[in-house]
């Protein structure tokens, strides 16, 4: 009698299942329970940090689809976030629209902008594309500052509290469940996307665009689509950011933010959905962790108290990123994969 292997699949349906083994389902359930329990077992500050991480995760997913999966480098991701944030802010504060109009509208507005950038950038690659997307960021920043009738310019726009079908999400804990749900949706959608024909076309373009075209991948269509999808994610993240911050200003969406998102996907792992999540959480949480570590160090070694400076945190964070790029170029998802393989093969080491 043949013994069925745990990874043996008998149908296409089994092959495309998201959670393929009982253990994956078990750990996933445990993770969901932990997520639900977070606001009950920790303080609102940590909940706030997770809220911010969720928004960063959605935006990083968008950039990873564009840069990590399709190979189209973008230095203008903050501009798409700005478009999403301003769409929500204007719709919610001026037109009193509900979230179920504002958030999709933010995504669509950013996706349209993505199409606008994607089409003229079709023939650009590498540094040239990076420059073009960076210039787009400058244009958006200029528009948000100068189109005062719409954006209120440098005064910024105040955004009302997020109201979900009459229930005001007016605290970090209430926002938490909403943000986790939207992030879960975004992660599942991205995971599914990369497994479809579209996702495989993206990867083919990234690996060798000429070969992809020879195989029948329509470069124009898929490159523009990657821009639109990546921008849609950024737009939704921008909309959520507006709701969480309650106030947006052109200074919130600078070139530095685009670089930060690029850092997230490099640290997390290019071309990996899980890498986007890891990268976003890492970049958001680690500065806080370094700060806590530095404060603990001053308690353990009181002599350091007068010497400690906040600039240390920034330097330590920069150093950490450098070490990462040198010793773990596959990012956090690479480490995760190794840990998983190690457990899978235990007690064997290969």
């Amino acid at each position: 009698m043949a013994i069925r292997s745990k990874t043996f699949r008998e149908s296409y349906y089994e092959d495309i299942k998201l959670f393929q083994t009982i253990w994956i389902k078990f750990w996933m359930m445990l993770f969901i329970i932990a997520l639900v329990a977070v606001p009950f077992v920790t303080d609102p500050y940590l909940v706030y940090i997770i809220d911010i991480s969720c928004i960063a995760t959605i935006a990083a997913l968008g950039l990873n689809i564009l840069t990590g999966f399709t190979g189209q480098i973008s230095l203008g991701h903050a501009a798409f976030l700005a478009i999403g944030a301003y769409t929500t802010a204007i719709f919610a504060s001026t037109l009193n629209m509900k979230f179920w109009v504002c958030l999709p509208a933010s995504g669509v507005a950013a996706a349209c902008a993505g199409l606008l950038v994607g089409i003229p950038c079709l023939r650009l690659k590498g540094l040239y594309l990076a420059m073009a997307t960076m210039s787009f960021g400058v244009v958006v920043e200029y528009v948000t500052v100068t189109w005062e009738d719409l954006t209120l310019g440098v005064r910024g726009i105040s955004v009302p509290t997020l109201d979900v079908f009459g229930y005001a999400l007016d605290s970090n804990e209430k926002l938490y469940y909403f943000l986790v749900a939207v992030t879960a949706l975004a992660v599942i959608a991205a995971t599914n996307l990369v497994r479809t024909r579209v996702g495989r076309a993206f990867i083919a373009i990234r690996d060798r665009d000429i070969a992809a075209e020879v195989m029948g991948v329509n470069l124009t269509r898929y490159k523009v689509l990657a821009f639109a999808i990546g921008s849609f994610y950024a737009g939704v993240a921008g909309g959520l950011y507006a709701y969480v911050m309650h106030y947006i200003h052109p200074d919130h969406f600078t070139f530095l933010l685009s670089v930060q998102y690029l850092a997230m996907i490099i640290i997390g792992g290019l071309g990996s959905v899980l890498g986007s999540v890891f990268g976003a959480v890492f970049v958001t949480v680690v500065p806080e962790f370094i700060k806590a570590l530095a404060q603990t160090m001053t308690l353990v070694f009181p002599a350091l108290e007068d010497k400690y400076d906040d600039a240390w945190n920034i330097a330590a964070f920069g150093l950490l990123i450098m070490l990462f790029l040198i010793f773990e170029p596959k990012g956090l998802s690479g480490i995760w994969l190794r840990i998983k393989t190690c457990f899978k093969n235990w007690p064997y080491t290969y």
Binding site: T42, P44, Y45, G153, V154, H246, H249, F289, T296, I314
Partner: protein, 400 residues
């Protein structure tokens, strides 16, 4: 104990600090301590503005503690760096409230930071003195915002009044150099309106970005148009670049004016003779003033080993001392029963509060938290490398 074990203990402690939420009976007040938060920039491009301000705030509280504290309680100031970024200020405020459990915060930073934190400020009743000078913060009334400094509009109106009334100009050629930040745009509008009220149109309105290190195009344009009075609406670093550039092109307007964020002895120290026609407006006194408040500030600075060089911008150190002075007085007035409500009520008892010349007499009521709309004008004293007061506290003139 080997190194690995020490590192392990430190890591566990850091994780515990990060994930734990300390419990306290009442937020920020115990029998012997008042926990007070402070959010101000410590690192990044504008750290030079935040550090002296924050040091002034912290030093005054240290001084107060050494005098016995307030009603037997010592004040513990927790200073968080926001890098002058509103999202970081919002995160810092969340940490201060939920993790450090502070009673309130002295300030949450500038205009953007205060607006971004407004909901939290109201939800947690955080009486604070914003480092921002916009009308929106007290009109309409915000219950927990106590404005301390004169509005940008007030400062620029006083400057234009000075040109027409003190310098007796009839038809001066005025040019404005501004940045596209809220204070720059507000300043430009205020100057334009005020000059118009005197029947004069501005000759030039030129943008000088905050990060500018050279102002050649602006200086040459002003020179070409024979502008006699230049009014600048930008912070100190670009104004230093601007003043230095005027010297480079031998452009000598009758006066170059600046507002509070560019009114500091540093401009004379950095520009030397090029700053001889510089006149600045400020809602805090000057470091060379002979007032009891400024003397106290100097005494405190000396006590904690700060000389002028290590302070940096002395006007901002004075501002910091002034803001903490307000809180110290409010704590005293609130008595032993200190909580967010009693603190707000204490602030609202201020009537012509005398800071000894650090800032003008100040009053708050339960209907208005407006600042005293008064400033002083200071002129460069190049030999002594100082700005010296050339007026007393003054308000804009009433226009017909």
């Amino acid at each position: 104990m080997n190194v690995k074990r020490v590192l392990g203990v430190v890591l566990v402690c850091a994780l515990t600090c990060f994930f734990s939420s300390p419990a306290m009976a009442a937020r920020g007040v115990t029998d012997d301590t008042i926990k007070l938060g402070l959010i101000l920039v410590k690192t990044g491009p504008v750290a030079a503005l935040g550090l002296p301000d924050g040091h002034g705030m912290v030093d005054y509280m240290k001084y107060l503690n050494e005098q016995g504290g307030v009603h037997g309680r010592k004040i513990d100031v927790i200073w968080e760096d926001d890098e002058f970024q509103p999202p970081k200020s919002v995160a810092a405020l969340q940490k201060l409230i939920h993790r450090d459990k502070v009673l309130t915060v002295i300030t949450t930073g500038g205009s953007q930071q205060t607006i971004a934190n407004m909901k939290t400020i109201n939800d947690y009743k955080l009486s604070n003195v914003p480092n921002a000078l916009m009308k929106e913060f007290f009109d309409p009334y915000h219950p927990y915002i106590f404005a301390m400094g004169a509005l940008y509009e007030t400062q620029f109106e006083c400057i234009v009044d000075y040109i027409f009334n003190d310098l007796k100009e009839k038809n001066p050629r005025i040019g404005v150099v501004y940045t596209k930040k809220e204070y720059g745009k507000i300043g430009l509008n205020a100057i334009r309106e005020r000059a118009k009220a005197y029947g004069v149109d501005l000759v030039n309105e030129l943008v000088l970005p905050t990060g500018a290190v050279d102002a050649s195009s602006q200086v040459l344009t002003l020179k070409q148009n024979n502008v006699e009075y230049v009014i600048t609406c930008d912070v100190l670093p670009p104004i230093i670049s601007f003043v230095k550039t005027t010297e480079k092109y031998n452009y000598k307007p009758k006066a170059i004016f600046g507002f509070n964020w560019a009114t500091d002895d540093m401009i004379v120290k950095a520009c030397g003779k090029a700053a001889e026609n510089y006149i600045g407006a400020n809602f805090v006194g000057g470091w060379s003033d002979d007032s009891p408040g400024v003397k106290l500030a100097k005494k405190i600075a000396k006590k904690y080993g700060r000389d002028e060089k290590s302070i940096g911008l002395t006007s901002l150190y004075l501002h910091g001392i002034g803001a903490s002075l307000l809180f110290g007085e409010a704590f005293k007035r609130a008595g032993r029963d200190l909580n967010p409500d009693s603190l707000k009520a204490a602030f609202e008892t201020f009537r012509d509060f005398d800071s000894g010349g650090i800032f003008p007499p100040l009053s708050y009521t339960d209907k208005s938290h407006a600042p005293p709309e008064m400033i002083k004008l200071f002129k460069a004293d190049v030999p002594n490398k100082r700005l010296k007061a050339i007026t007393g506290w003054r308000k804009p003139m009433k226009m017909k």
